[in-house]
Symmetry: C2
């Protein structure tokens, strides 16, 4: 466990150094690449629950937003903007009927998380992620980060939630 | 805060003593009353997330199951039956569309927790709750516990989930 932790920290540090040392690469459109989250934050599955959400339609998703202590406390206390160090984890799953529950209830009423689809993160660091509103966005499917081109779509959408510091989710009391 | 905590602990202790001292009262049908959970467990809102669920139909509910550390660890590790000390909290809310999210997405797709409806608890104590499978059931709306007659309906339904120690919810990985 300790060995694994050290490896991961080393990995993060190396990534940080590489990011600092690497020249900013231009995109096809001439814009410099904004940094995004390329490593899954440790321990996120044990963070506190902020809210659940169901996205119908093509997404057909059921999941939860979890937050580390910094983020959770800010949500609970209604503190905006979110302080540096806040990390949000959105865990998404297929929205599927629960056959076993429905059998007991005698009707199709119960929908639960099915196969995991992706995990998305928002990491608040107003310096590192200044180009994207102070938030670093992350998207992981099967443990692999989203491609840079895909990651460019996060900020323009979240930017619309200005009143809540780019966060769509509200705290469920 | 300290004052409030002490009051609450005193309240719980008094309730415990009263429960120990009071003679078992017979019901109209002659059955002794099985004990149920009459005090909201402290700190439940900061427990860990086990899963989310949406109940359609008349319930029209969206919520989450949280667990204290004993319960969460057992869920995560697939340990059955749940050890004494496990406590589960099911937080239920109206399932409502999010107008602000849908405006941004350009379609009605996003459903989120609306007004809280009730919080339900399951407390594992194989001695205290021996009459109901080792679980004490609790139901609170507006902070008030469910009536004894209502509470009698919990165990007969949960008893159907024998294979998972009377718990319907599965861990979302």
């Amino acid at each position: 466990m300790k060995h694994y932790t050290l490896l991961l920290v080393a990995g993060l540090t190396t990534a940080g150094l590489v990011a600092l040392m690497a020249p900013t690469r231009g995109h096809a459109d001439g814009e410099p690449a904004a940094p995004y989250v390329t490593e899954i934050p440790q321990g996120y599955r044990e963070w506190k629950w902020i809210s659940s959400a169901h996205e119908a339609g093509n997404l057909n998703s059921l999941g939860a937003l979890l937050g580390n202590d910094v983020a959770f406390n800010a949500f609970r206390d209604g503190k905006l903007p979110y302080p540096d160090g806040s990390i949000l984890a959105a865990l998404h799953y297929r929205n599927v009927p629960s056959d076993e529950n429905n059998k007991i209830f005698g009707q199709v009423q119960s929908f639960v998380p099915g196969a995991p689809t992706n995990i998305q993160f928002m990491v608040k660091d107003s310096k590192k992620y200044a180009a994207t509103g102070g938030w670093g966005f992350g998207h992981f499917a099967d443990g692999k980060p989203g491609a840079a081109a895909f990651m460019k779509s996060c900020f323009p959408c979240h930017e619309k939630a200005q009143a809540t510091d780019l966060v769509f989710t509200r705290y469920a009391p």
